[in-house]
Structure formats: C-alpha cells, structure tokens
Symmetry: C2
Subunit: 736 residues, 2 copies
C-alpha cells in the first residue's frame, strides 16, 4: 500500500547514498541475517560511519555499539532495521524520535503474511509519513552501491564476493531475484552500481527507484524486476525519464501466465495490470522486456559494454556455414536485417576467401584456423564497407584447438578496429574463461550461444530506435465531467467521438417508418438500419441490424422488423429509434478502443477487426497520451499494418487517418480520465489512401456520465459518395 | 546429389562400427587434419586394426604403414580418405579395387566449392555405386562411436578429451556444428554414443543415419542438425522409426529466415522445403524442434537423464516467490499445466510452511535455508499427492550460502524419492560444478536458469504425447493417372473431391438463363451463382459470383450479368456455364488444401478461413498420409480449434467432419502423387455439430491430368435444408 496524501519530503539520495548508518538489531553473529549487513559494510570497506545498536552489547563485531537508538552519538543518515517483527514498530518510532529520516526495514512478517501483518505495516507507514521518513521495505533485502562500497543488504550473493563497480543497476521487488541477478552479473564480470530491493513497497516503490536511477551518473543500464506495479502512470514516467537520458531499461515482469499471476498476487499485494498492457507500455517507452533471467543478464551485459546500435543491419562472419545460418535465423527473430553485401564488397571477399560464402552471412570456412589473417581481412572488408551497423562473428569451438584463440582474437581486433568506434561486435565462441575476458577487454561482446549473441544485438538496436523517438504526446481533450454511471447509446457515443475529432457516417435517428423512408431517400442508396436503445448494447445478437436495405417498402418493412425484434428481446424496451445511414464503402476493419486500467489509467487499444483481434490477440496497447509516431508503431505491431499496405491486391489504406483516429481516442480517453470505463469503436473502417477512416459503430461506457448535448438528428461529417463506386452492385455481391 | 537407381548393398553397420580402418593419406604430423584421425583412434584406445597408408613412409605415428592401398595386408572394414582433393578420385578407385566397401571421404573441395568440384563428386559417386561402396561425405568430419572408442573423425572438440560413453547420438550435416555440440555435451557431463557428420551427402544422408541410429541399442536420444534434406519422405520414415521405438529426436533445422535459407542453400546444395512444412512434419513425428544450440543441448541433457513425462502437470516448489512465478510463466509457454493443488494437499502444506504459498507454485520462503527439513517435507507432500507429473524446484543462489547446498540436496533427495521412480525432477540453482554433479547423481536434472529447466520438462512432455500416439494412416486413394497439365474447373474439381469423400452443395451447371431459373426454383430459395470456365480461376476478381439471388427475374438477370462480366474479363472466353446452387448455411470457414512439395511430396494444409490464414500464417502442415488423430492435432494447432468450440456464443462446429475432410484430402493427395500440383478448398464450411462440412469452392491444379469423367449436371450430396433456418432472413441481413 502506498501512502496517500502529500509527497514525502526527503529524496532518495540519502536513502541510497548514506554517509552514516545505524544497524538497529545488529547481531554479533556475522552469519545471521541480522549480522550480515554490518559484516558486509565492514568487509567491503564502506567509508562512512557504522553504528551498531544492540540492547545487550557494548560492542558488535568489534565496533562500539549503543544499547538504544536514542543513545546514538550522532544522527545517522540511515537506519537498517533488522529486529524481529514484534519489535519493528518500536524500532521505527525510536528512529523517528532520534531524527533519522531514512530507513531500510529488512524485517519480514508484514503485509505478505496476512491481515495482522498488513495492519502493522499500515501503522508503521503512518509513523513514517508523519515524520517525513523515506522507508525501503519492509520484507526486503536492502540496497547497495558498489561504487561507494555501501552494502546495506543481506543477500546470499554477497557471500561470494562483492560486485565490482560498473554501470549496471538493479531495482527489484523481489530481493531473492535481485541478488540472484547480482550474483550472475558478478560471475560474468559485469560491474554494478546500485542494487535495491523494494519488498512490500510501503513507501519507496520500484518506479521511483527507476526514476532516481535514471539520473545517477554511475548508472548506465537499469535492470528491473516486478510482479506488478500499483501506479502505472508513475512507472511510465520513470521509464520515460530513463529513455530521455538514453539509459536502457531491461525489465523482467513476471506473472504473464495464469498460474504465474496468481502466484504473483499471493506473493505481493500488487494489483497487476493485464500482461498485454504491460507489453504495450514497455514498447511505448523503449523497454526491453526479458522473458528469463538469462535474457535479462545477456542484455545487461551488452548494454554495459556497448552502445545502442546506429541501425539494424547485421553483418555475420562465421568460420562455418552452420554458424552463419543460425545467426541469420536469429537475426530475423530479433528485428535485425541481414542485408546482402554489395557486389563490390562481395568481390573483395571472394579475393580473400575464394572457397567461402560472400553475400552475408559470410563464411570464411575453417581455413582461418590455419590462416587467421584471412579472418582479419574478411572482417575489415565487411566492417569498413559501411553496409552494416553491427557485426556478429561465429568462432564455434575453434578457440579450443591447439592453435588457440589468441591469433583469432588478434584478427578480430585488427579487423574491427575502425568499426568498433561506433559499431558493436559480438563474438560467439566456446572458449576458456581467460580467453573470453581477453576478447572482452579488446572491445567485443562474447556469448557462447550464437542465438543469444544475436538477441543481445537485437536489443541494442531496439534501444537505439526507442531513444531516437521524439515525443509530442497529445493533450487531453477538455471534457466537462458530471456524475452518472451508464452506457451511451450509439448516437450519443458517436457524437462524443465526433467531438473528439473522429469521423462517422451521416445518419438519421428515425422515430417512425416515415422518417426512416425519408432519411433513406435522402441518402439515395441502399442504407443500413440499426436499433438504438440504451438497453441493447450488442445489436447484432438480437438481429438489430439490417444492411443494404433499398427502396421505400423495404425500408418501411425494415423499420417494422427491427422494432419487432427489439420488442421481442426486451419487452419493456425504451427504443430511441432506428438509425438510418448510408451503407459503408469498402475498407479495412479495425477495432479501436480505450479502457481505464486500474494500474495504468487510460489505455488505448488497436486491433484487427472482426473476431480476429480477440481470437489471435492481435492487439496493441499504449498508455495515453501518445503521439502520432507512437500511434504508427501501434499499427505496425499488428497485422493491420500489412492489411493497410494493400493486402492481396486491395488498395492501400489511409494510414494517416488511422493514426489520427488513434490519437483522437487517446485524447478523449485522457480527457475522460477516471470517468472512462471503456470506448469500443468496432469497426473503425479505414478507407483507401487519403479517404479517411470512419467509425461505423461505437460503444462507450462511462463510470461517471457526461453532460454532452446531443441533437436528435445527428449529421455525420463524412460524405460516402466520394469513395462510393458501384455501391449497389457491391451490396448485391455481398448479399448472403 | 544422391545416387539414383538401385539401393547400395552394404548397410551402415560396417560404416559406423568398423573393426579395421585404413587411413589413406595418413600424416605423421599429429596436429594436421590428415594426422588427427589416427592420433584420435590411438589415443582413445580403438580396439580394431589401424592401417596408415602413406606413399612416402613405412611408419606413421609409430604404426607400420603401407605405401599404397593395394599393398594393405588385409581388406579393412573402412577407409578414411584424407588425401588432397586432387588425389581423392584415385584414392576411392584404389579402395574399391582393394575390396573396401565403406569409406569416409573427409576431403573437401567438391560440390560445395563449385562446378568442377560438383563434377568430380559425381564421378566418385559413380565409382562408389558401381562397387557397392557406402560413402560418408565428402567434405565431412567423419564419425565416431564413444562406446567402441572408434574415433574416425577430426574435430576440434576432441582436442579437449574424448566423450564419455552414453545415450546421446549426433547426426549432423554440418561437421562444425556437430563437433561443437559434441564438445558442449562433453563439458556438461552427458555421455555420447555415435557422432556422424554427413557433409555433402553424396551417398549416406542424414535421414538414413537417423533411421539407423533409431535401432542401435546404445542410442537413447538423437540430435539432428540440417540445413535441408532432399528426400522428405525418407526423413519422415526415419523420424517415425525413432518415434516407434520411443527415442526422442531433437532437431535443429536452420534456414528459417530468408538470409538464413540463402546461406544454407549456398552452403550445401540441398533443396530445402519451406520452413512451415518442416515445422508440420516435426510435429507430426513428435520431433522437438530446437531453435538454438543451447536449446538442443538442454533437451538432450534432459532426455539422456530422464524419461518422457507421464503427463503434463507441473508442480513447482520454490524457495522464493519470484522463482515460482518465473517457472509458472515458462510452464504455460512450454505446454505444461500448473494445476492448483487440491485443498487437502494445500492444508498439509500450510501445516509445514505457514508463511509460504500453497496452491502451486508452492513458495517455501527462505526459511528452508535454516531448516532444510521443511523443503523435504514440502516436496514429499507435493510429490506424493499424485497431482503432478513433473516437479520443478527453484533454489536460486541459496546453494552458494555458507550453509551450502548439501542439506538442500539431501532434502530434495528425500522429498522426491518415491516420485522419481517415474516422475522427472528439475532443479534450478546457481551452484558450483561439484554440487551440480552431485544433484545429478541423485537423479535430478539441474539447470541454472529456471526458464530453461521448465522448457526441458515441457519437451519431455511433448515426447511422451508423441510416443503415445497410435497411427493408422489412411491409404492413398486409387486414381488412374493420365497425361496432361491443367487446372480443373470448379465443377470438375468438386467432382474429384466428392469422389474422395468430401461433401459439396448440390449444384446445377446452367447453360442458359432458362436452365438457371429452373435450377433455382428446384432449390426453392435464394441461390448462389458463379461463372465456370477454365480461363477464370479466381472468380471473385472479375465479379463472377452472385450470392443470395432470389426470384426468377433476378436469377435471369444474374445469368446475363455474369456472362457479361466474364466476357468483359476474357473476350475469347470458353464459358462452361453458370453454376447454380443453394446458399450455404452458417458455419466456420476454413481453408483445406494440399500441395506437392519438392522435398516432402504430397503435403496437406489446414488453416483459418478468409484472409486470416495467410496474413497470420495460422496454418498447419502435415505430410500425407495422416490419420484422424493427426488431423485432429492439425486442427488443434490452429485457431480453427477455438472457433469450432463455439466462439463468442456461436454453436460448436462439427470437428469429426473436419477431421474426415482432412483425411480425405490426404488420401486424395497421396493418390494423385506427382500428378498433384495443388488442391485448394476455400472455403470449406464446417457446420454445426453432427451436420458435416461442405466444400463451397475448390481449385485443383494437376501436373498431369486425370481421366476423371464428369456428368454435365453435378448433384451434390449435401442437403442444406437440414441445417437451413431462416435462410432468407440471413441473406437479407448479410447483404452489403
């Protein structure tokens, strides 16, 4: 539970970079959880002052100790509380009274363990808030900073040595996960900056940590782990802060599966947004979503040692044909292109390695084992041709041969010397640890598995693209809010959409058969007729739609038929009338909508039309607001994109119109804010290029109603005759 | 290129299990490629006789050598030829003349290097065939058998020690890949049986190796690597042979991407089938398709140490909440269920670990570090409840703590003792090598990454399901073949489909407006009208279909309209007539078809109807023949399955009728054989349960025409009135 109300006064600076630390409940036993933080601080060489507090001892682990917090000789920046849960409340009060304004509450047994713990946690939250205390935890493993040698944590990973200083920061809701990751980074030789485990997030939440890490000069890449965040807008702000300063965020968000999300919910009290929405938000802010520890680690490693790519063209040089093919397969799966090298470059390569392959992947064949210089020359030609933005080199097990890897490594160094100034080089090889470290020292990323090497390069490309995006998110549409709780009728919903800038067909709400006939004759063509009633939300289910109705008597019949069907379905019906409109022209049907997500607030959704979006989950989500570039990326994520390119001989669709429609819904959703429950435009018909996009049907649910005024006869702003050719014939063709 | 004509006489037994080996071109230099096979054979302790052949030496590496093959004191089982390419042809002739019937041609510079090499390879093939020689290669790394210590190979991986004897066999087109994999297995402590690299596959192909390996008692799991096979039917036979003896095949087929497949094609001369068809065939025969070396290795490791699962229910026990959630997420991605444990089991767990989570994933919390017995008890309850078929245990970095991993390992051993007799246990932990080996020794699979652990269990479940399938593939439909080359008209195509057992609507080919009117009145309802002409294959493109035509004058108009449109599109038209049929009832539209694939022969395809199948690639492929169970699995692989369950309130569809239709197309495709070019039933309409499936339109292309006789007026065998309700209204609703 986050603490509502005024923002807490202190920043996170003191919390994560204290110069003096009291350890409340410090134990003499260096192996107990309550003894380890002091041991780590001392072993790691923390330069600040350490004040152990222990009611029964005058020294702890060789340092002078106070019996009570009140007796501390000075007010420390931070208190680490490691007392049992029963004493935790008093310890926090003691700290508050002593003027301490930063606390890590490492103790467990709070909200994660049931109602009683939840209540206790709430009380502590009140105390912290009243005293302006920033509090990490409870039920967390603490935090550390490998640069300052401040290790205010207990984690098994530190038992195997302290991490070297470096650019990688970890912010994890799960302490166990975070330390696991920290250890694997350590083992892989990747240096760290900050580690922070947020536990139950009584006060400090993951999002705030990410936002704070984004502006720390020692941080180059942020690894985040969450089972769900409470405040999606805060997360979005944090991710955007990182994006703006070009710091990659690699996020492992678990709970994607049903069993997983149940477990996540039972593990924390987080109210998780749906997984698809997380996916959309991660894409929106250029976050790489990892699906395993290994993936998060691989990409952290790449980010720590290499820059985002300048483009997505991958050159592949392999000492065996198979290695090259494997890498090419992986490249496609991770969004990289493997362009054929130009004929002159291929000719140069042919002169160096006549027996090899020269297009890309380039296969030097195994002869480089005997003549490493061939590899140097090959790489130089590929690297300096300017046709690739990253290089992937496959050496396989060749480094294990008696010839060794040193000559090959030297060849790679030579061959990529100029390229490495702004290009990334990933080497896939099976080699001994010293060889790997030597290759890294000369500027290469080293992965054993070729698919993992390419995946990391793909991530570097993804970051580059996300960092390059300039944003101009649309403002919220100003909407006067009122009170209420209802679904708008189709007529009202369309009026609202039009006020947001969307286009609809002209339509007339007929209240008699005569009015319907008059309207139809005005439209001078076959018409669509639909029942309109607040009680009938899904018209097709009761047969409440007639399409292609032509001629006065048919329109009159239609009017009667629809009234009869509506009455049969809902005997106590309030029928607003029958909506008459021209038949829609041809186009690509999409679903465009918005929902108010409990985590992320107003969220926009775009998907393939018909049953397909739902069945195939072919949808893209984004948190509002978004701009046109982001709307375009949403479209590109779905198969709608290919349909709009002119699928199977159909004319290309009006992509800019769809982009504008997405932005309009975003503005509307943002303007509605908490009053929004859901908007469903199904279908939105995207017409041919330059002809627009038309909302054919719309359903709007409001949590709180709006005083929107509706005219009884709604004039749509779209003139279908401009795109109408052979409509009558079409209607006939499509009968049945 | 494979050698056409009569099968070669010798089996692969001698080729891969020789008792005496001549090395033609053996070098005194033990590190040269031509020196290494002899060194390996000697170092590994090969028990057979080794005959070095070297024109310039009387001893090679300490063994007496012959100057010429002709001088060999006895005829060896096998000759390893390691001479330069220029001498290769003569060496093969020498071996043939000496009576040698098994050869590894390790030399490169043949088909892979251009036209000249291709010709030379062809000549050698002729020589081998003429003498009944089985030949591995050329351009390969040879083969070995770790059980018999026969190492007829040169591979850098052997430089790091010989693999221990064990169940894993490798059959790889790429020698570099195969040895890479062999080394990684060796490093992971997984024992091997056979290794074989097939290179240019002049004679022995990968499929034959797989088939042979399937029946070798020393082989428990087969790892295959290919860039494409030439004879798909042969591959299918080999995979089925492995499936029948319950030996898992883990196949890494590369070339899925465009760049990858181009590289693959330039690396070997293989004519690769499309990747989707490989996918379908792998599923058909229960093969696990790996997408990286790492995946292939992980699953080989699991297969070498564990049995296929008895079911797909996964129990997860974790020492941290995060680990459990990660594993649950992975389980869903790999086809495993994570069922909630029953209330009594949860109650038992609550008694042991009150603070943990008890549903599944089970979270013991970190207290097991101090009390490992809790882990033993937890595991015992979960394992022995009989509610799971596999267990995944997450220990994270806990084994690195000072308490060590031994107590936890002992707890796992105790807790899973009964379970392990027929259940698999995978442990995810970060631990030192000796700890990992110790955990393996007590029967656990050990993976560092939790996602990889679960993926491997998912694969074990996949094998179990595939092995359990009983096959009764349908026979080919007997079809008299003729000569020709043409597309059948819709009328002819439907007649052919009916003869194969598919259902069509009744229809009349009208040759005059009067005939059309008469036909329509017979069907007593709105009708569909379509042009029929061999020149018009895609009727809708020229407006050649009218639906829902009702009333004599409309039918007459329709007849005229269609004739006019056809004439406009093709001025020199041969119009067979206008096909008149009742309107189709409602149903789920699917695409069902078959093609003749150059690799796999007749292949059946099923997909979602409309544009969706192609756009989303929502299709399933299988090589014909297939049986009903396999047809059902095809349906389940696509979203058609969910549609047929009654998507969004629609009535469930007639799955058995679709299964029969798939089998009918399979029989027909198989019967047509090479005469088949393609069959497209688009759409096949699957009706409500027990009401059948109807081919509404069909396109059949034959490579060689068939003397099928067609009656001028085709009577369909499906009576739509049985499912027809409110057709007129429907037609009206669907106009436009």
């Amino acid at each position: 539970m986050s603490i509502p109300g005024t923002p807490l006064l202190s920043t996170l600076d003191t919390l994560f970079n204290p110069t003096s630390v009291a350890i409340v409940g410090a134990s003499e036993d260096r192996d107990r959880l309550s003894g380890r933080p002091q041991r780590y601080l001392m072993e790691a060489g923390f330069k600040g002052v350490i004040y152990p507090v222990n009611p029964n001892r005058s020294t702890v682990q060789g340092l002078p100790a106070c019996r009570r917090v009140a007796q501390l000789p000075a007010t420390p920046d931070l208190a680490l509380i490691v007392v049992p849960v029963a004493s935790a409340r008093q310890a926090v009060i003691d700290c508050a009274n002593r003027g301490i304004r930063s606390i890590y509450l490492l103790t467990g047994g709070f909200a994660e363990s049931g109602e009683e713990g939840r209540a206790l946690q709430g009380e502590i939250g009140e105390i912290a808030r009243a005293h302006g205390i920033r509090l990490l935890g409870p039920n967390c493993l603490g935090a550390f900073n490998a640069h300052s040698r401040f290790f205010g944590a207990f984690g098994t990973s530190l038992e195997r040595g302290f991490p070297a200083a470096g650019p990688v920061a970890i912010a994890s809701q799960s302490g166990a996960y975070g330390q696991h990751l920290a250890y694997l980074l350590h083992r892989r030789g990747v240096g760290m900056s900050y580690f922070m485990s947020t536990g139950n997030e009584l006060d400090v939440e993951l999002s705030e940590c990410i936002e704070w890490l984004a502006v720390q000069p020692q941080v180059g890449v942020i690894l985040a782990y969450a089972e769900g965040v409470r405040d999606g807008a805060r997360l979005a702000r944090a991710l955007e802060a990182a994006r703006l300063v070009r710091k990659p965020v690699v996020f492992y968000k678990v709970g994607a599966s049903v069993a997983g999300s149940q477990a996540a919910a039972s593990h924390t009290a987080a109210m998780a947004g749906t997984d698809e929405i997380y996916d959309g938000v991660f894409r929106q802010f250029g976050v790489h979503r990892a699906r395993s520890i290994e993936e998060q680690l691989d990409i952290a490693y790449a980010c720590a040692r290499s820059r985002p790519l300048r483009g997505g063209r991958l050159g592949i040089v392999s000492v065996s044909g198979g290695g090259g093919v494997q890498m090419a397969d992986s490249a496609e799966a991770h969004g990289l292109l493997v362009p054929a090298l130009s004929p002159p470059v291929q000719a140069e390569l042919r002169a160096i390695i006549p027996m090899g392959s020269h297009a890309n992947p380039v296969d030097t064949t195994g002869q480089v084992v005997n003549k490493p210089q061939l590899l140097a020359e090959t790489l130089q030609v590929v690297a300096d041709a300017g046709e690739c933005d990253a290089l992937a080199v496959f050496l396989g097990t060749v480094p294990l041969t008696s010839a060794g890897d040193a000559p090959l490594r030297e060849a790679i160094r030579q061959g990529t010397e100029r390229f490495r100034t702004d290009g990334a080089v990933a080497v896939s090889m099976v080699a001994d640890e010293p060889s790997i470290r030597a290759a890294e020292a000369q500027g290469c990323l080293v992965y054993e598995d070729p698919a993992r090497a390419v995946r990391a390069l793909g991530a570097l490309n993804g970051f580059a693209r996300a960092f390059a995006a300039e944003r101009s998110p649309s403002a919220a549409m100003p909407i006067p809010t009122g009170v209420g709780d209802r679904a708008l009728s189709e007529v009202e919903a369309k009026a609202l959409l039009r006020s947001a800038g969307l286009t609809t067909l002209p339509e007339v709400l007929a209240r008699s058969a005569d009015e319907a006939v008059r309207a139809a004759s005005e439209f001078a063509a076959p018409v669509a007729m639909k029942v309109v009633s607040p009680q009938i939300l899904h018209k097709t289910e009761i047969g409440g739609v007639l399409l292609g109705v032509s001629g006065d008597s048919a329109v009159r019949d239609g009017y009667m038929t629809l009234n009869a069907r509506a009455a049969r379905a809902h005997p106590d019906l309030e029928l607003d009338g029958i909506l008459v409109s021209p038949m829609a022209p041809r186009g690509v049907e999409v679903i465009l909508g918005a929902v108010y997500d409990p985590t992320f607030g107003p969220v926009v959704m775009l998907g393939f039309g018909g049953v397909t979006a739902e069945l195939f989950r072919d949808t893209a989500f984004r948190a509002a607001p978004l701009d046109e570039a982001e709307a375009l990326r949403m479209i590109e994520e779905t198969h709608v994109w290919r349909m709009l390119q002119g699928w199977r001989g159909a004319p290309p669709g009006d992509v800019p119109a769809l982009v504008r429609a997405v932005c309009a819904v975003s503005r509307l959703a943002l303007g509605l804010g908490e009053a929004l429950e859901s908007i469903d435009i199904n279908p939105l018909l995207v017409l041919e290029e330059a002809k627009g996009a038309v909302a054919l049907d719309a359903l709007v649910h409001l949590a709180a109603g709006l005083p929107v005024s509706f005219s009884p006869v709604m004039g749509g702003d779209f003139n279908p005759s401009s795109v109408w050719e052979g409509r009558a014939e079409q209607a006939k063709l499509r009968v049945g």
